[in-house]
């Protein structure tokens, strides 16, 4: 720990920002998955998607609570989750993309899980004890998410002609949001250098290997990487986020400051 006040402040702010963006990823994705409740193609899948959503909410809660603690301004998990403006959310763009059909939801979850799986495993070695502890729990959960979505990618890719076509479309639609997963901005760099964060750019090879292995079994191909969308980490979102927030924040905005 630094001996002077100034770098300590900066470092805390960076850590806050780093934890908060991770929390946002998990909250927004869980909000999307929650929309599936009661709507899945089979009852078993309804339970499975709810399980994944619950894991993500749990991870988001742990991260928001920690972010609030790091920030030190008395904001709790709910104030951070519900009481910020659209430009203040720093989630990855892929997490806010609409559920679409089941193929889109599965591809979105598969892309993210194939990234979060090595991400959390590396985070287990973080110098930050809290992040390492959150990672230890999350990495077990995401292993299941990756397995579950991989199985569906294979079934749907190598299922019927219709399911194959739907998967091709979903892969095409979501591919442009995958570049952002591996970006390293100043916050991420600083966290990496201090031994707290993960080198996201270094996860790309493993991600590609995981994704391509499964897609091959599914008789599918990873689309060519064209222009990659970016902006989530700077609060520049797609139009979808505003609608997510207007539902998510409805109660807290309508009845500010109350206990539920």
């Amino acid at each position: 720990m630094s001996g002077t006040c100034e770098p300590m402040m900066t470092s805390n702010q960076t850590l806050f920002s780093y934890v908060l963006r991770l929390a946002d990823d998990h909250l927004i994705l869980s909000q999307r998955l929650g929309e599936w409740c009661g709507e899945a193609p089979t009852l078993e899948e309804d339970l499975a998607l709810a399980n994944i959503a619950l894991d993500l909410i749990g991870q988001a809660r742990a991260l928001y609570a920690y972010a609030g603690q790091v920030e030190g301004k008395g904001r709790d998990e709910d104030q951070l989750a519900f009481m910020r403006y659209e430009r203040d959310y720093q989630n990855l763009l892929i997490t806010e993309q609409p559920n679409g059909d089941f193929a889109h939801t599965i591809v979105r979850q598969f892309f993210i899980s194939a990234y979060m799986d090595p991400f959390w495993r590396r985070m287990e070695g973080s110098k930050d004890d809290m992040l390492a502890a959150i990672a230890a729990k999350a990495s077990k959960e995401v292993t299941y998410h990756l397995r579950h979505t991989s199985e569906w990618v294979i079934r749907l890719g190598d299922g019927t002609r219709e399911s194959h076509e739907r998967m091709v479309e979903a892969l095409d639609d979501l591919m442009m949001f995958t570049g952002e997963l591996f970006e390293m901005d100043a916050v991420a760099q600083e966290m990496l250098q201090s031994g707290v964060g993960v080198d996201a750019s270094d996860l790309k090879a493993e991600w590609q290997h995981t994704v391509q292995t499964i897609l091959q079994e599914a008789t599918l191909e990873l689309p060519k990487a064209g222009h990659m969308q970016t902006g989530g980490r700077m609060g520049r979102h797609s139009e979808h986020l505003g609608h997510i927030l207007s539902e998510l924040q409805y109660m807290q905005r309508s009845f500010p400051g109350l206990t539920w």
Binding site: L43, D158, L258
Partner: protein
């Protein structure tokens, strides 16, 4: 959650008197009837109808509460609500499985739900309008369901009784969770208390209706009692529910919306006002505000998911074929 008293037993059987007497002797000796045991056709039909109706209620019941998952006021409430609605899906699964032991498939039962031939608990045709409704549904609707279900844990049909034991444990957790939402509201601001009272006003009477019409009007109830599928009358269970709920409302500082509700010292229980059975039958017969929507949603979900189920089947067949040809090649 929610088997309700409107289910009647089908007493028609073609079995001879000796068979029926032997069956009844097992029931009277409190022996559990298991899937492969001989049973009267009427007993089987009654159970299939009751268990599938119960399963359908769980599935349709996911809708009113699912309506609030995206808007739950805190992360803790969101997680608890999602877990609760997920439990309901799980209850639907165990119950469909219990019914399948009687020789009917999940697909057939689903078809009956989607075509409107099978009923589900009418309480889910009432809308969940505010967050307080999530509290009231947990407290009252799950509370009423538990009154029915505790008794079903001793139902004469083994698979149903065993499914109910697990379901009851989860339901009583849901009920406490709902009541805890009500406590938070009633300890809160004036507007929160108003939300709580309004939810109680709207859900009180429909919750009482969940026990079904009084015995005189519930035609086949008697046969269900003899077969020990059912063990208490609708009115007895309703009274138990009222007696348990009134002090809970008092503790919350809420008023039960029944001006005729009063303590009856002689029966050591509450007397209640007239239940609007016209409303009950109107909603059961399809004219509640949500009936059409609930079924249309289920049909849409079924339709939208068809390609996924077909793909899963096609993939499983391809796999099996590949495994088989690999085995032949190896031989």
């Amino acid at each position: 959650m929610y088997s309700q008293g409107l289910i009647g037993a089908d007493g028609k059987t073609h079995e001879d008197a000796a068979f029926l007497a032997a069956f009844q002797a097992r029931i009277d000796a409190e022996q559990k009837i298991e899937p492969n045991d001989p049973m009267p056709e009427g007993y089987r039909k009654t159970l299939v109808r009751q268990i599938s109706q119960h399963a359908h209620s769980e599935i349709i019941g996911m809708q009113p509460e699912g309506n609030w998952i995206s808007r739950a006021p805190t992360l803790r409430r969101k997680a608890a609500l999602l877990a609760k609605v997920q439990d309901e899906g799980g209850h639907g699964l165990y119950l469909y499985s219990a019914a399948e032991t009687l020789g009917v498939s999940r697909e057939e039962m689903t078809e009956q739900l989607l075509s409107g031939a099978a009923k589900y608990s009418s309480i889910f045709n009432y809308p969940a309008l505010t967050w307080a409704d999530i509290g009231a549904i947990g407290w009252l609707v799950d509370g009423a369901a538990i009154m029915n279900q505790i008794v079903l844990c001793r139902c004469s049909y083994g698979p149903y009784a065993r499914a109910m034991i697990r379901i009851c444990k989860e339901e009583s957790f849901h009920q406490r969770q709902g009541y805890e939402i009500m406590i938070a509201l009633c300890n809160g601001s004036e507007e929160q208390k108003e939300l709580a009272q309004d939810a109680l006003n709207r859900f009180w009477w429909p919750s009482l209706m969940m026990f079904g019409p009084p015995e005189g009007e519930s035609v086949h109830s008697n046969q269900s009692m003899i077969w020990k599928i059912k063990r208490f009358s609708n009115d007895d269970l309703r009274d138990k529910f009222i007696n348990a709920s009134v002090p809970q409302a008092e503790k919350l500082g809420l008023t039960i919306p029944d001006p005729d509700l009063k303590w009856n010292e002689a029966k050591q229980g509450y007397d209640h006002g007239e239940i609007d059975w016209d409303e009950f039958w109107r909603v059961v017969k399809g004219d509640g505000i949500c009936n059409r929507e609930r079924l249309k949603n289920r049909r849409r979900v079924d339709r939208d998911g068809a390609w996924v189920r077909e793909a899963a089947m096609a993939h499983a067949q391809k796999r099996a074929a590949r495994t088989a040809s690999a085995r032949i090649a190896a031989e």
